[in-house]
């Protein structure tokens, strides 16, 4: 059984149609763990290593959007232009595994695996990312909230693959924070991304590792919009931030497992929400 190495997106589409059962391999940082430890038996593999288009990113200033190829490694998002335009993504990228993992791991991988602990996913959710997918029936854009449909479940159809992720460039503040029990290279026990659009006067917040999918705390967001001005130059009453944290926590749906407890995750995500909101005003 082969490793198929397409050279461009067209070839990739073709090869994936011929081998609908094949697995796509980009950084390998999730898939090879399955092979090494969990008895996964690879059969047909399609390598994305040579599909240059997937490793590129571009900015469309007219649309205020940045598009990042599915196979761009996280290391490329930590610094430079991507980090300047989407700082929350840079902050999330910095917490993905180790430097070695970040040199290989990709957004496409996080989206393919769709773990609630996927570090980049709260950022995609909070920013309202569009997932650009290509398949036998052509292209389509999927809103992130419709893309991730459950624990390790996404809405890709057979022979569809993630081509790129498109994110808005926001005027305002954005930040990401992740709780783990050591200071680096740690799987998240709770994470959050908060985006404050000072033009629109809205805040969005998305939570990781506290539910079966990434959770947008929409009730808390709505409450916040009603309770305080979020536009440029506004001030924040600390009591509002605290109440916001409390409301965000209520929207989380965490579980107890060997990594932490539901109570702690709920508490932690509330603290993160409060702190991120506070930071967005400082």
């Amino acid at each position: 059984m082969p490793v198929l190495i397409p050279r461009n997106v067209d070839e990739l589409v073709e090869v994936f149609q011929e081998h609908p059962q094949a697995k796509l391999l980009a950084g390998g940082t999730d898939y090879m763990v399955e092979v090494n430890l969990h008895g996964r038996k690879p059969e047909t593999m399609i390598s994305l290593r040579q599909v240059k288009e997937l490793t590129e990113w571009s900015v469309r200033p007219s649309q205020s959007r940045i598009t990042i190829g599915a196979a761009v490694p996280y290391a490329d998002m930590e610094h430079g232009e991507i980090a300047r335009l989407v700082p929350a993504l840079a902050q999330a990228a910095r917490t993905v595994g180790s430097p070695q993992i970040r040199a290989a791991g990709t957004l496409g991988g996080n989206l393919g695996t769709c773990s609630p602990a996927g570090d980049s996913l709260p950022v995609l959710a909070a920013l309202g990312a569009m997932i650009h997918v290509i398949g036998p029936d052509g292209n389509r854009d999927i809103d992130f909230v419709d893309f991730m449909v459950g624990v390790k479940k996404n809405s890709l159809k057979p022979s569809e693959f993630v081509h790129s992720v498109s994110l808005p460039i926001i005027e305002g503040w954005q930040g990401y924070a992740k709780v783990g029990t050591r200071n680096a290279m740690v799987i998240s026990t709770a994470s959050a991304c908060l985006v404050r659009d000072i033009d629109e006067g809205i805040v969005t917040i998305a939570l990781g590792s506290v539910g079966p999918t990434i959770i947008r705390a929409r009730d808390a967001e709505a409450w916040l919009t009603k309770s305080t001005s979020l536009r440029a130059g506004a001030d924040l009453n600390p009591a509002v931030a605290q109440e916001f944290g409390r409301r965000v926590a209520l929207e989380s749906r965490p579980i107890d497992d060997h990594r932490s407890t539901a109570d702690y995750r709920r508490h932690a995500v509330g603290v993160l929400a409060q702190r991120l909101l506070t930071r967005s005003f400082s």
């Binding site: 709780v179 050591r182 200071n183 799987i187 060997h258 990594r259 932490s260 932690a268 702190r275």
Partner: protein, 759 residues
Amino acid sequence: MSSTVASTGTRHGTLGTSASRPDGVAKVQGGFAFSSDMWADNMLWGATLRSPHPYARITSIDVSGAYEIDGVSTVITAADVPGKLTYGLIMQDQPVFAAIGDTVRYSGEPVAAVAADHPETCQRALAAIKVIYEVLTPVTDPEDCISGVAEQIHPDGNIFRHQRIISGDTSIVGAIQVEGTYEIGMQDQAFLGLESALAVPDSGGHGLEMYVATQWLHEDRKQIADCLNMPEENIRLVLGGVGGAFGAREDISLQVHTALLAMKSGRPVRISYGREESFYGHVHRHPAKIWMKHHADTNGKIVKIEARMVFDGGAYCSTSPAVLVNGITHTQGPYKCENAIVDGWAVRTNNPPCGAMRGFGVVQACFAHESQMEKLAVAAGLSPVEIRLLNAMETGDRMITGQIMDSVAPVAQCIRETDAIPLPPPMSQDADLRTIPGGTGLTALPSNIKRGVGWGVSIKNLMYSEGFDDYSTARCRISEGVVTIKFATSEVGQGFTMLAQQIARTVLGVDDVFLDTIDTQVGSAGSTSASRQTWMSGGAVQAACRAALEQLFDHVATKNSMNRAELEIEGTDIVDRLTGQRVAVLAAIDGVDIDCTEEYHHPATEDMDENGQGNCHVAYAFVAHRAVVDVDLELGLVKVVQIATAQDVGRVLNPLSAMGQVEGGIAQGLGLAVMEEIIVKDGKVRNPSFTDYLLPTFLDAPTVEMVFIEEHEPKSPLGAKGIGEPPCISVTPAIANAIRQAVGRELPRVPIRPYDICL
């Protein structure tokens, strides 16, 4: 007498210098042969089938499916064990494989093993073996074993050992009393170099050669020989490169399985565990629950200690009885006290087997007594330093075992020197966020953080105890102008090979010292554990070198008409003190043929009686730790900022190596304090991976400021004490005490989890 060694200068490579590691170049270039790098022509891969259940009766095993897979050579089960069906260090109570009709007693217990042409073939073969289990309800609560309500899960019973210490006047009641119940989680040694062994059978099938990463070659060989029903002399064990040990290689893991597969298949077989299997394949640090009550007079002077300690030994004995004795005999810590009532239990449950890990029972006791000292300080209105200085043990003190402290005991000096180390500056409000709790997760700003300072001081016994003669052997050969040292001492990373060369260079006045293969072709060295090899194998190498030197002096005196009684080594020369005549050692050894093998034995110890009285330990070492931590009170995240430490080492034999032992031990103690725990629920390990069993990373490691207290230990052959274990013992409670100070909670359990702090 250590004057010959002590009086020599500081020629590079001799004792007291940071000599180079003989294995260093190979290690940095990737060429050092670890046991997992061993390879032989025609080699098969081995793998182990393990029980998924913590307690279950095996009703059948069908291995036929495995043989149907291409590339599978051999499958073995309990029915294929030709000799003793069990192994174990103290009691041989652990089956080589669980047999049909018998029970598995822990999740991960070996049931069968296969040998095949590829690791993946092995995995498929294991999947094809059908084992039918009658699943039973596991015994997981040690208290049920003590009370007797638990089902007896092994013919030897559920109690490994029950030992009391009743000492002095037990009727005393202190004006001040503090008490607490403390818990210590199950820590893993987590050496990086996973278990691995290569067994090569003799062509005639009568013996074998094995390359294995172990702490004690001769003990392994004895147990392998018993199980194979083979004379020990037919087995040669060679030390395969060892990637760390920390206690986890004291017990048999894959040795017998690998040997059996090789003997049955007639081909070389290598088993190399993966990380998950490693968590199942070796013993861990005992989780323990310890109640302590300290009685003190109004000044805070300890007058009596009451304690009850329960160690969960898991399914098989391993070293549980010895761990228990270490725990209870260290109840008092490094403090004066003669009156005590201690009740200690080590029990059998269906939890993972536990045994040796760096600190060996003392880690658990120390966490309890140092938590108590913090409470006692508050109750007596003293500072953490004052309460410890007030009670500091000294040489000559009578301990609760009745043993008189006859080691150098600079406890107060350790505390004072640690206290004199400057505290780190306060956290700056523009601190790099990487360095504050939460690290790269960017969870906090400096304004969210509170700092705490805490203390821990410990005492640790050195060498084996309770009458055990854990001697060591070394051989020194001078032949063809070359000095060669041989020993069976396991080099596990600590640097004994380097030390052996330093000793030989110092004693014999040569620069080049060759090291023979570390294997069973020389007498036992005992285990690389209990902080004992510098003392024991160092003593043996020194003795062998000195014996060789005596013969060399005989030869030189005769040949050069020098005064035999006046000869000594000065640098690289032999000097006649009377005449000043000199002969270069290199010239002197040319053409001589000397071969000396010596054993070193430590002073005898004795068993303890039913009241825990007896001279059961050989010697002791001491250390103080002061921890500075930053805590995010709302999220419960911790960053250890600085550890200050002063350690009683007798004498620094290799400065760089000593620093490495101290820093490495501290990192392990830090792990136990805030992140490392094997989580066991209903007898099953929930986190057997490095994703979920967290080890400190570079960003978690604190700055370490250290001082060595060098007061020569007269009992030690080199004047030095073992330094491996003390660094990891009291650092854990020091960190816990620092967190307690910042948080204002009792926090009676380690590792301290974020939710313990903030919920």
